[in-house]
Symmetry: C2
Subunit: 199 residues, 2 copies
Amino acid sequence: MSRPNRSEIDTLIDLLARLPGLGPRSARRAVLFLIRKRGILLQPLAEAMQAVAQNARECLNCGNVGTTEICEICSDDTRANGLLCVVEDVADLWAMERAGAFRGRYHVLGGTLSALDGVGPDELRIPQLKDRIAGEEITEVILALNQTVDGQTTAHYIADQIEDRVALSSLAQGVPIGGELDYLDDGTIGAALNARKRL
Amino acid sequence: MSRPNRSEIDTLIDLLARLPGLGPRSARRAVLFLIRKRGILLQPLAEAMQAVAQNARECLNCGNVGTTEICEICSDDTRANGLLCVVEDVADLWAMERAGAFRGRYHVLGGTLSALDGVGPDELRIPQLKDRIAGEEITEVILALNQTVDGQTTAHYIADQIEDRVALSSLAQGVPIGGELDYLDDGTIGAALNARKRL
């Protein structure tokens, strides 16, 4: 081959190819794109990565990712205390925030229980959840876990642990906004029918 | 929304989302992945980008991308002179090199002719190609442009310009290795039939 010395460009391609959603081919494309846009994209991207590498941290309270010890949501005085939304991952928290429909606090578990992968309650932030329920005068916990087997197993486990201390709820199941029945799975249609609303 | 101050994390997401093959959602996923792997991936990636931003340059001779004024291929004494492979983009050059089947020199055009986009011969590296043919004692030019309308239009234009000075060839058309006839388009099957080889 004609590139015997691993150049900085090859190193960059290899590192980029490790990102989720990118493979070797798309990493090569991305690097060529970045080199063409050296000044306006590659340099700012390098600096933004450096800044995030130095400043990103997990919120000590809820597990959200931010640049402060206690995240913006936990330290926001305008949000309701007492109402706690439990999510699997930071990505789910961000999705809830984009929806803009929730003004309480969050608790990020950091995954789901999984016997196969050896993930027990102590690998997740379940002990911290119990501490918060005791310490923060939480009155309602919304279990906003994914509608997957692992997500719902985890939700049941948590419900079991805390149901005598707080009111529990979960997100409604049904037809998504803009959804077409013909494209929905049987389970969703069944759930939407069971939870039908009187007009 | 709860993230009123644009944090470094948001900046990084926005920049990553501009890469080809990534959108806002995959950029968010990638950033969360990078934050989890701060030490082993994010920091090295930031440094690799910085290095490439500072060192990447186009080879003055052939248009390949590397970290030196004249690229490794152009300055490799073991490669054949006189045989020049013309490709559209650096990505195509890299693909040829991965195949490892060519040991001559390259010339990267930087795109294809396009009346619609206002790309004429002078926007590509066609003048430089003519200079090299005159100056480097090139005897054969392989037009390895893509089998697209634009690629083939450009190949015809170049052939027209230089056919009286050098031997010209193009990559063979036919059935790809591992290819199944049932999945091939009619044009490819026709070309493979016309170029059939006697056993």
